[in-house]
């Protein structure tokens, strides 16, 4: 993440000035990560696409509000996270954010089982042993390599708490991993 920050800040400034190619490059840089972030929580391709679309449409519509001192990806994740909460509230009117920071874990879908390799299936099964918040913190830390400060801003938790979650999740993974 840090290595991208210089280029990102230039692109963000250019995009804020209305340079569409800069906005396009930012979109290309982060669309996969945002989609993955959403997909891992919805486990439904069409829903993940809808929420990813909503995230980027909202982000570019309000891009002038983005603080250039921050990184873009956590901001996009935050928008995606809010879109997910709205989605779950529509799906399940009694949805409580306190009880379900994330959508309930589901078993891998038949499509996932069919298309992923044995190694991935194993990793996915392992990941599913974690609760939604642990899964989110682990993926933000290992896949996106966000700092704990950025993870805290996405998950609405403190930095220290995010560290504790990551540590606890990794211990859980080790215990669950087949020897």
């Amino acid at each position: 993440m840090e290595t991208l920050s210089f280029n990102e800040s230039s692109l963000v400034l250019a995009c804020k000035k209305g340079v569409s190619t800069a906005c396009g490059q930012l979109y290309q840089a982060y669309v996969t990560q945002v989609y993955r972030f959403v997909y891992l929580r919805t486990r439904h391709k069409e829903t993940a696409e809808d929420i990813t679309s909503e995230t980027f449409l909202k982000a570019f519509a309000h891009f002038e509000n983005f603080d250039t001192n921050r990184l873009l990806l956590p901001w996009l994740y935050r928008i995606a996270h809010n879109a997910l909460i709205d989605h779950w509230r529509k799906e399940r009117p009694g949805f409580s954010l306190d009880e379900n920071w994330d959508s309930p874990s589901e078993d891998p879908t038949p499509l996932e089982v069919a298309v992923t390799s044995e190694k991935n299936k194993e990793a996915l099964a392992l990941l599913e042993k974690l609760n939604p918040l642990e899964k989110t913190v682990v993926t933000l830390r290992l896949w996106d390599q966000l700092s704990y400060r950025e993870i805290a801003s996405v998950t609405d938790k403190t930095e220290d708490y995010a560290k504790v979650i990551f540590s606890r999740a990794m211990s859980k993974l080790r215990k669950q991993k087949p020897q």
């Binding site: 995009c15 804020k16 209305g18 906005c23 991935n120 990793a123 993926t139 896949w143």
Partner: protein, 227 residues
């Protein structure tokens, strides 16, 4: 596969992990990819949407302030200059051209006193003793666009001397526009020679008591002669 940053590697070591233990998780990241078609369609939707989604340059508060100030100043300028422009246009294109002015002016009976003169060009009554009295806007416009109604102050003053009375007792009954053939206003004196200069002026009929008299004058009443 993505390499973990040294910071995260150190953290994993601290937690008692070997880096390779996370390999399967890192591989898994690459299993969740969006469809290319979706990515392209969304990009098209964002950047070619009817409502422009990419940000436009927002004017700064200073720019907004100056643009609003300029608009306000422009409005004030228009408000101030509009009547002036209107008057200038009116002056250049008078409602009643000079050529249509009547050459003979007969003052109505009731206004044949010393205090006011009725201008039958339609300009209303003009009091010779109250030149600075405010007049309605329409009257002022007419006065500016048409030739000013003569008051014949000096003619009346001259007549007052001739009849040994006060100016208040002298009334102008009528006046007529004339073009006198010489500087003597058509009344030549055998003792004095007159320059043969065509002189525009008036033939003014005055009344003092029951007597009437005719006076010749130029337009500025510098030269006044009794017939």
């Amino acid at each position: 596969m993505k390499h973990l940053s040294p910071e995260i590697q150190n953290e994993l070591h601290t937690l008692g992990f070997e880096v390779h233990e996370t390999d399967s998780l890192l591989f898994l990241e690459e299993a969740f990819l969006p469809r290319d078609e979706f990515v392209q369609n969304l990009e098209q939707k964002i950047f070619t949407a009817p409502k422009k989604l990419i940000p436009t340059v927002t004017p700064s508060p200073w720019q907004l302030f100056f643009s609003r100030s300029q608009a306000l100043a422009g409005l004030i300028l228009i408000i101030i200059t509009a009547p002036l422009i209107f008057l200038i246009v009116k002056n250049n294109y008078p409602v009643q051209p000079k050529d249509t002015l009547p050459t003979t002016n007969t003052l109505p009976e009731q206004s044949r006193d010393s205090s006011s003169l009725e201008d039958n060009t339609g300009a209303g009554s003009i009091s010779p003793t109250e030149k600075s009295a405010p007049a309605p806007a329409a009257t002022q416009l007419k006065m500016m666009s048409a030739p000013q109604a003569p008051t014949f102050e000096k003619v009346r003053s001259e007549a007052a001397k001739d009849f040994r009375t006060t100016i208040e007792n002298v009334s102008v009954i009528s006046y007529e526009k004339k073009t006198w053939p010489d500087a003597c206003l058509g009344i030549s004196s055998p003792l004095k020679g007159c320059a043969t200069v065509v002189t525009p002026g008036f033939l003014v009929t005055i009344q003092v008591g029951t007597s009437t008299a005719l006076y010749h004058t130029d337009t500025e009443e510098k030269n006044i002669r009794r017939e």
